[in-house]
């Protein structure tokens, strides 16, 4: 392929990422120079940009193409396209959530939307990375923007604490990741994932340096995905950050990290014995501790943080039962990969939806966060209460929802990959999960409202309301009719 056409095809392959970044730049300039007083316009520009990127991404998916842009440093296949789709859905929903919420909280900063778009583009880069260096760049673009977003409520101590904690631990985790990349390079002589895969397919030699490298990679990514021994920051950061940031952080950072997990683990498939035990142990720890610690939480945001840890454990079960198949140089995803992507989409709908309900309930200057705040919500705010109920049922994995179907797919994949222990632990942990999800429902529907009724009603936030409605529609529709996703995820269903 000659240079010019290679560049052109490379650029068109990453068009959704370019659109997001370009929109972010335009929004930033507009925010500073053009519409200085009307900050909501920045949000609307960001919304238009992310919807545009979503449309382009859908076109790409339906085009069923695959290529390796930029001399193989990125890869553009069904996995990266689906990751982009999931991330763009999360971005659109988060931008919608934030527009009025930021004004209510007195945080109306144009930078919010700009950073959100940059962060999302970083996560998309992680999903498309075919090279460990690109993966690292993606993870940094994602994280640096998130560090700032976590502390965007500058005047609040909790938000500052969240930002500092996330930044320090995140920088530390980046160090681990980078060291892991260096060791893998030392063991294989390349940072290109496909070359690593070919190398080990020809001769699977497990050396100590390779095992150490993979281990450090798992630690670095495990931090971003909030797996259990590396999860300490999660509840504090999720609680301290403004709720709309938490929704995006919970969705995008996790999707990006798991896309990277799937890529790396598939590259190291021929040397599976070197890493499978670590993933299994992490998955069991994450599922068990995530669920058990969520039970004792009184703060809804903390509870959702631990629940997001537990969900990371479920997706890790899918990672443990992964294995892409290259047939005639075309990539076919295994059952585990498909289950992971489906579950991540379900997770985005459920989590953004659940945090979205909290955003919807927040009054000026105050977040709605404790279990007591939720008492008797069905009477005072029926819309919020009943949508929250569906998100809780979906997070718990109760049948007519996407959460159930995702869990079922992962369970299935784990059984057919002979990960029986993981499947059993997952089933048991889910049972514990149902307790605390239903506790929220019980608080909302069967408890009397506590104290005097709030004099100040939540602002009528149409944008956030639409975000919650779309999340709910996704959760229910794809839970009942998952076949609707098959034209989109066709690459995943071959």
């Amino acid at each position: 392929m000659n240079g010019a056409s290679h560049i052109a095809s490379s650029l068109s392959a990453i068009l959704p990422i370019l659109i997001l970044m370009g929109t972010a730049c335009v929004a930033l300039m507009g925010d500073v120079f053009i519409w200085k007083r009307q900050r909501a316009l920045t949000g609307i520009v960001a919304l238009i940009g992310s919807v545009w990127a979503l449309v382009v991404n859908l076109q790409q998916i339906l085009g069923y193409g695959s290529s390796e842009p930029f001399s193989g440093s990125l890869v553009y296949d069904s996995l990266s396209q689906t990751t982009s789709l999931v991330l763009l859905i999360a971005t659109v929903l988060s931008v919608l959530l934030a527009i009025t919420y930021l004004r209510n909280r007195g945080l109306e900063l144009g930078e919010y939307h700009v950073l959100l778009l940059f962060s999302a583009s970083g996560a998309m880069l992680m999903g498309a990375a075919n090279d460990l260096i690109m993966l690292f760049i993606g993870i940094e673009v994602l994280s640096v923007a998130l560090y700032v977003l976590a502390g965007i409520a500058r005047t609040e101590e909790r938000s500052e604490e969240a930002a500092i904690k996330y930044f320090l631990l995140g920088a530390f985790a980046s160090g681990f990741l980078l060291y892991g990349i260096a060791l893998v390079y030392g063991a294989t002589g390349t940072t290109n994932l496909q070359q690593i895969n070919h190398l080990f397919s020809a001769k699977a030699s497990i050396t100590p340096i390779l095992v150490a490298g993979i281990g450090l990679l798992i630690v670095g990514l495990g931090f971003k995905a909030a797996l259990v021994p590396f999860h300490q920051w999660t509840p504090d950061v999720y609680e301290g950050a403004p709720t709309s940031v938490t929704a995006f952080m919970a969705a995008a950072a996790k999707v990006g990290a798991f896309a990277a997990f799937l890529r790396i683990m598939n590259a190291f498939m021929p040397v599976q014995p070197a890493w499978i035990t670590a993933i299994q142990v992490l998955a069991i720890l994450t599922m068990v501790f995530g669920n058990l610690l969520a039970v004792v939480q009184d703060n809804v945001k903390r509870m959702l943080a631990y629940s997001s840890i537990a969900h990371a454990g479920y997706v890790l079960v899918a990672v443990a039962s992964t294995g892409m198949i290259y047939r005639h140089a075309v990539l076919y995803l295994s059952q585990g990969d498909r289950a992971a992507m489906f579950y991540l989409l379900a997770y985005v709908f459920m989590t953004v939806g659940a945090f979205g309900v909290l955003v919807l309930l927040s009054r000026s200057g105050k977040d709605y966060q404790t279990m007591n705040d939720l008492k008797g919500l069905a009477r005072t705010h029926p819309f919020a209460a009943y949508t929250m109920m569906f998100f809780m049922l979906s997070l718990g994995g109760i049948p007519p929802t996407m959460g159930f179907l995702g869990k079922w797919l992962i369970f299935n994949a784990a059984i057919s990959a002979h990960q029986v222990t993981l499947a059993i632990v997952m089933a048991l942990a889910s049972v514990v999960g149902i307790y605390y999800y239903l506790r929220v429902v019980w608080m909302m529907c069967f408890q009397e409202p506590e104290g005097a009724p709030a004099t100040e009603h939540p602002v009528n936030d149409w944008a956030a309301r639409w975000s919650v409605i779309v999340s709910l529609a996704g959760t229910l529709m794809f839970g009942v009719l998952p076949a609707l996703l098959s034209p989109i995820m066709t690459g995943l269903y071959h």
């Binding site: 240079g3 010019a4 560049i7 730049c25 930033l28 300039m29 500073v32 120079f33």
Partner: protein, 179 residues
């Protein structure tokens, strides 16, 4: 396999031994005639006035950060300029466009800084001391150098030069000959 590293190991050990011998020998053998003058944090330079834990405008960091952005641009431009000439015409055009895009993105950052008035130092307020900090300065004993009244350094004159700070530090009560 690792025999090639033996000279390096030997050098590390030798360097450690020599350095520690030098430090310990001067510690054991050297004559010690301490004067408080010698024990001030900076033996030469300004006479210390007040605490080092002062507030200063955080804009210094901002300037440092902005500097790094453009510093990296310069570093990136050098290898680009060196390899530019050797490329073919088509690649030259591509390189030119690529660098233009890179600089344009950097300039978005620069315009953002300008638009946010980050480079506007005019309105910067003097850092004001909180009452607590002022008390800390008051309760602090005056610094004595051991040569007051006899040595070449006239502390009271030095204080007078440093101006308005004099009020916050109480006058020394009686001079003492070196300890």
């Amino acid at each position: 396999m690792l025999t090639g590293y033996i000279p390096i190991l030997a050098m590390v050990i030798l360097a450690g031994v020599i350095a520690s011998v030098m430090v310990f020998a001067s510690f054991l053998l050297g004559p010690k005639k301490p004067t408080p003058y010698k024990e001030t944090p900076y033996e030469c330079g300004m006479t210390p006035v007040g605490s080092a834990r002062e507030r200063f405008p955080v804009k210094f960091y901002l300037i440092a950060m902005i500097f790094i952005i453009f510093d990296i641009e310069t570093i990136f431009l050098y290898p680009w300029a060196v390899t530019f000439r050797s490329a073919s015409h088509a690649v030259k055009l591509f390189n030119l466009i690529e660098m233009a895009v890179f600089v344009a993105i950097l300039f978005i950052g620069y315009f953002y800084i300008l638009g946010k008035n980050a480079l506007n130092w005019g309105e910067a307020e003097e850092p004001t001391l909180k009452p607590m900090d002022r008390d800390v300065f008051r309760s602090r004993p005056p610094i004595r150098f051991g040569n007051e009244g006899s040595g070449p350094v006239d502390l009271s004159k030095a204080r007078a030069i440093s101006g308005d700070r004099t009020e916050s530090v109480p006058e020394t009560t009686g001079h003492q000959q070196g300890s």
